[in-house]
Symmetry: C2
Subunit: 341 residues, 2 copies
DNA sequence: ATACGGAGATTAATCGTTTAATCATTGCGT
DNA sequence: ACGCAATGATTAAACGATTAATCTCCGTAT
């Protein structure tokens, strides 16, 4: 009982016009030798019938599914919407579909998710690895988006440079003591950002780093970061490694009656959805997701074309880091001259 | 030049074991009549060779692609990660893959995105419609997740009840004047929430509604909401229709030196990522994404099974609204007795 | 002895598309 | 006229999996 498919197919168009299937295929794809008029007639008729080619049939014949996989091991990451959108856009522009797979943070599930994608016949995939998990080559070309210092990284924002931009920005505003607020010391991205920030500081400036996960392991999750105390100690700027942590810092400061930015400046990373709308709006650096996705997809597709879609390769690209852009808003300002030591 | 596919297929296994393809297929699917021992041998050998069935071949023959579509017309919505995760989880559990499509807010693009999914052979799709766009039945079963008052809605959080819970919560805290803060008056979801909140208020309480988009059209985007003034007017509670607006309200109040919650309470909707970590942490109501996704997927699959995957139907489910759950945190508290009129 | 039944396997058709190979027709140069 | 090439179309063979139909034994009942 082969299920009778209702949609028109090549053969239906063919018999209906009294020509052969091959001719119809050629006419629609513009590949073989078909006369102008006939090709035109065929196209018209196909459109009339609302013909949509069966991806299944095509995939079977050509071995190309026209689908890429997107693996998100850390889907809770709030920058995911932008990323997914950019990837989907780039893939769609190239005529590909995007199959998502989520591993909910679990490494075993990640492997399984990758396998599922392979079974579904993806020609390649884009992986945003969860914290420093090493991607063992899958059964197809893989593009990794993480950070330049991650081995096997294909392309990513230039987190170092982004850090530098922030460090430099705070330096120019006259800040001397900077507290860097990160989430997890095991993250390659966050470490690169820390390094970047430090490289942007001037002689005479000092910085310390506060890791929230470490703190919360002692004081419980959702605990105070003790920033008011830090302010008393002389810190005038808080450079968070993500807008989420920046938000946490900002609200804590405000709650404790410390004005931002007149008393202390706060900066973030990634330009997440809330950054423009909070008060004060958040100074941050944005990744150029569009370009990153573009590069990831195009080098992925190039690898697929040259080496086939069944070989497990880590895709490389000429441009492996894309500059981040500083967005100055209201949360950063000149250091209070009365408070700098 | 049919590209030679490297992976083992049924026929390779068959010849390698000296049996027929059909037998191998039967053994692996457990369908036909194959002796115990032979079936065992075949399975072993298949596993050894790392056989993965070609979805293309299977899809072509059976007409079932094993793939569902997820249409997100407003992918920038920060609740997307949770949603995508829940949908992907439910679909994976049912043995389906999830193809995403984004229409970037554009209605024309939305139609095109739906068509692309159909071309890719999805058996059905889940659509989260952008603001009140009516989903004209596509060429396959469609489950809509929006709100109960949307015609054609399959399942959604019970936004009315969620609103009621918030209204009731504020009433119990002794608030009298409530300002409801929404984004867009054209959103079904937001309107249901407004109605819900009002229904939770007690006699003697009053509420007004502030639509941010309307305000921004006059005063420019990112403008102040003028909440300090509202506080002076006697409002003691601000009920935002989304955590994003709640965050905006909260930071604006704090910036203006108004303490939350001792002077004014703030509540949100959706329990977005930042709600637990800001200071004060945000009182909100959460959607049960897991259950919603579960219901959407299972009724979608049921429709596909009974009516086939080529008929454009709006899927219905017995349970069309899933209760929301109040999460009381620090941003809401008793109304200041000296300030209630 | 013959027919029957059933288990265990194979044959072959089919899904829809692509494409190399082939065939038929016509025009054109010598 | 005859061969040759170009053009326009057809034939047929895949791709890989599924499945209805068929075939082959072999044991057993009539």
């Amino acid at each position: 009982m082969p299920p009778t498919r209702p949609g028109p197919n090549l053969s239906r168009i063919a018999t209906s016009l009294g020509v052969s299937v091959a001719t119809v295929s050629n006419a629609l794809s513009g590949k073989g030798r078909v006369s102008e008029q006939l090709a035109e007639r065929i196209k018209e008729h196909a459109a009339e019938l609302g013909y949509v080619p069966s991806q299944a049939g095509r995939a079977l014949r050509t071995g190309r599914s026209g689908v890429l996989g997107l693996v998100l091991p850390d889907i809770a990451n709030p920058l995911f919407p932008k990323l997914a959108q950019a990837i989907e856009f780039a893939a769609t522009a190239a005529g590909y579909g995007v199959l998502i797979a989520d591993s909910r943070g679990d490494v075993a599930t990640q492997t399984e998710a990758i396998n599922r994608l392979v079974e579904r016949g993806v020609e390649g995939m884009v992986i945003i690895p969860r914290r420093a998990t090493r991607i063992s080559a899958a059964a197809c070309p893989v593009a990794v988006i993480d950070t330049a210092s991650t081995p096997g990284n294909t392309v990513a924002a230039d987190h170092m440079q982004g850090g530098w931009v922030i460090g430099n920005h705070l330096a120019e505003l006259g800040h001397r003591r900077i507290l860097i607020i990160g989430n997890n010391p095991g993250s390659n991205v966050q470490n690169d950002r820390v390094g970047g920030i430090r490289s942007g500081l001037r002689p005479g400036m000092s910085s310390a780093t506060l890791w929230i996960e470490t703190l919360e392991r002692q004081s419980g999750s959702g605990c105070s970061l003790g920033l008011a105390e830090k302010v008393r100690e002389g810190y005038t700027a808080f450079a968070a490694l993500s807008d989420l942590q920046a938000l946490r810092a900002l609200t804590e400061l405000q709650r404790d009656g410390i004005d931002v930015p007149s008393v202390a400046s706060v900066t973030g990373f990634d330009d997440l959805i809330w950054s423009p709308v909070i008060t004060p709006s958040l100074t941050t650096v944005a990744m150029d997701m569009h370009t990153i996705a573009e590069i990831a997809i195009s080098s992925l597709l190039q690898t697929i074309q040259t080496r086939g879609s069944r070989e497990g390769v880590l895709v490389e690209s000429e441009t492996d880091r894309v500059p981040m852009q500083l967005i100055v808003r209201q949360s950063s300002g000149p250091a209070d001259p009365t408070r700098i030591s």
